[in-house]
């Protein structure tokens, strides 16, 4: 069920904002730049229909989560969630507008270690804020990280699929995720689903991408083969692609990308400590 103009009109009225321009449209979710009292904000509108019964609960979870975290490296909610229609056909909320660029647009060539490490440190800080309250992002990608124009820092966005480890019930298969950014746990179910160590795998992917402009597990080609390589954690060798990096630098990324999640850094905070310890 797509987001209709009627839903958007209801959202604008309920949240007392006006549209500045479109940011992203994608089927059941629309993202627009809006303004209120001279401040620019991001409006997110999701359609809730019988074909997407989880959309409303996911939206509630995302807004509740963003409202509970006050960290400079995690996007902030700027409103509560409002339900649209009776019966409910959609939901909308506001987030702060991050003036900058998505990380995806910046991954055009190999970065220096210092630049990649600075990016990873900020993303790790944002993820640490989630992990500290037992929340796993589960869908970290270069489209969900934004570099701020103001100071060059990075902010984690869209924890729409974040899962509260303690509140979640059984989760069976069908983990969210983006091709190229999947961890081995994304292919699992029951007790094997993504954990904080899976977000660390995502951090490893972002660092690998920044350092090489290539995915550690390229998603191109046959999907079944890609999923097989994800399942066993078959990654490219960073040392071959970047022979100028030190052993400890390569080892850090390699550990973040270890096929066994128990052998990665346990969470983003542990990753950040190790990153900081590298010259």
């Amino acid at each position: 069920m797509p987001v209709t103009d009627e839903l958007i009109s209801q959202a604008l009225a309920a949240l007392d904002v006006v549209i500045v321009r479109r940011l992203r449209d994608g089927g059941q979710k629309t993202v627009k730049l809006v303004a209120r009292d001279g401040d620019e904000l991001v409006l997110k509108v999701v359609a809730v229909g019988s074909s997407s019964p989880a959309a409303l609960s996911r939206a509630r979870r995302e807004v509740e989560l963003l409202g509970s975290i006050d960290d400079p490296h995690v996007v902030h909610a700027a409103s509560h969630l409002v339900e649209l229609g009776d019966p409910v056909e959609g939901a909308a909320w506001l987030e702060e507008f991050l003036q900058g660029e998505d990380l995806d647009a910046l991954l055009t060539g190999p970065w220096t270690w210092a630049d990649a490490a600075a990016m990873a440190a900020d993303v790790a800080a944002g993820l640490s804020a989630l992990h500290a309250i037992d929340v796993v992002h589960r869908d970290l990608s270069a489209n969900n990280v934004r570099r701020m124009n103001s100071d060059g820092s990075y902010v984690v966005m869209d924890p729409g699929f974040a899962r509260h480890v303690l509140r979640a019930g059984l989760t069976v298969g069908g983990q969210p995720g983006t091709a190229g950014y999947l961890s081995p746990e994304h292919l699992q179910s029951y007790s094997g689903v993504p954990t904080a160590a899976s977000d660390v795998f995502g951090l490893g992917i972002l660092m690998f991408l920044a350092l090489t402009a290539e995915f550690p597990i390229p998603a191109a080609g046959d999907e079944a083969d890609y999923l097989r390589r994800v399942a066993v954690g078959e990654t490219q060798d960073l040392a071959l692609l970047r022979p100028d990096l030190s052993q400890s630098q390569v080892a850090l990324v390699k550990r973040a990308l270890h096929p066994q999640s128990a052998r990665r850094f346990r969470n983003a905070a542990r990753f950040a400590e190790a990153l900081e310890a590298i010259e």
Binding site: S191, T195, P259
Partner: protein, 379 residues
């Protein structure tokens, strides 16, 4: 690396574990509610046993062995019901309330015995199933109740051979960050040496390698089959003088046959050079026909009595595990060399005795599993 004694149906735990400790062969003993009564029977009570072990300097653990309740034909409840482990039906772990109550009861008994907290677990046949989710939930509750507890993981060979599924389950458990681990491979029957499969050995090694860097891992009921796990970084190995101490087998927890005579001593002699045991009769034939070869393989002479056989077995395990107290790659190569040597020695010894050589059944699967681990580690 140290050797721990698992519980036994015999009344010898405190005496034999204590004596082995005095000889420097054993560090700890693990009591089981299936083997030790809470109140004195013809066997010493749990508290008496603990006192005697502690007086001898032996560290004491109490493993609730909740995972045995899911074993087929479990029925060896002679002592189990004397322990206050359940509010309702034994083994009922469907709800969070039931799990939490059981964990609290286990911890209360461990407090009563002065033993460290070791969480209960559920027997797993698959690393990805509703049951594995319940095992994870139970472990999470155990850590909530005491973040300093050790967690337990018990599964059959299929579970431990689960490859990436096993890794996912272990990764989720590792997130709980307990103070240590008990790992148990559960088997259908209690043959010694245990019939292993390479995938199980590989999975156990991978798991120990993943968990053992930061916290101690006890290879429960591991005995000789647990040596690869020690090479991968395990801290301690469970064993004993009876087969039920050496192998966590369904048959050990089954209702006893009322017509069975029982009480037979486990009568084998451990041969270090074969990384295996020979039944006492075969060991004696080997010693009679080729004393030099027998002495080299044992090493020493065939132990005449069950207690001697136990002390000899504990000595062999100490020497073998001591030889693996090396950096990971070196430990891998050391154990591989032991197995390769045993592959050569087995046909020679079997030829002297006049029995079928057992290296293909007992050594090759261990070696293949170990080599798979070495391959994934890049050794």
């Amino acid at each position: 690396m140290s050797i721990w004694v698992e519980d036994t149906a015999r009344n010898a735990l405190a005496a034999w574990a204590g004596e082995a400790h005095v000889r420097g062969l054993v560090e700890a003993a693990v009591l089981s509610p299936f083997c030790t009564p809470r109140v004195k029977d013809w066997k010493q009570s749990g508290s008496e046993t603990v006192d005697r072990l502690r007086d001898a300097g032996v560290e004491v653990w109490f493993d609730p062995e909740t995972h045995a309740l899911q074993m087929p034909a479990v029925g060896f409840f002679r002592y189990y019901q004397s322990w206050d482990l359940w509010a309702g039906q034994s083994g009922a772990l469907e709800t969070e309330a039931e799990m939490r109550d059981h964990v609290r009861r286990v911890y209360a008994i461990q407090d009563e015995l002065g033993a460290p907290h070791l969480a209960p677990t559920i027997l797993l046949h698959s690393a990805q199933s509703p049951t594995s989710q319940r095992a994870l939930d139970l472990s999470r509750i155990a850590v909530q109740e005491d973040s300093g507890c050790r967690l337990s993981i018990a599964g059959d060979a299929t579970f431990w051979g689960g490859g990436t599924l096993l890794d996912g389950h272990i990764g989720a458990l590792a997130q709980l960050e307990p103070s240590g681990w008990f790992l148990t491979v559960c088997r259908q029957y209690g043959a010694v040496p245990a019939p292993v499969i390479p995938g199980e050995v590989h999975g156990l090694c991978r798991t120990v390698r993943a968990l053992g860097d930061e916290t101690p891992v006890h290879v429960s009921h591991g005995d000789l089959a647990g040596l690869p796990a020690l090479a991968a970084g395990g801290a301690s190995l469970g064993t004993g003088w009876d087969s039920r101490q050496k192998v966590s087998a369904y048959s050990s927890y089954a209702a006893p046959d009322p017509d069975a005579e029982g009480g037979q001593w486990f009568s084998q002699a451990t041969h270090q050079g074969l990384v295996a045991c020979l039944v006492r009769g075969d060991a004696q034939v080997l010693a009679d026909r080729d004393a030099v070869l027998s002495s080299r393989l044992l090493p020493g002479t065939v132990p005449p009595l069950p207690k001697d056989a136990w002390m000899h077995h504990a000595s062999v395990l100490n020497r073998l595990s001591g030889a693996l107290a090396l950096p990971h790659a070196d430990a891998y190569h050391a154990l591989k060399a032991m197995y390769e040597s045993a592959l050569v020695e087995w046909p020679i010894a079997a030829g002297v005795i006049g029995i079928a050589s057992r290296e293909v059944a007992w050594i090759t699967p261990l070696l293949v599993g170990l080599e798979a681990y070495g391959g994934t580690e890049g050794f």
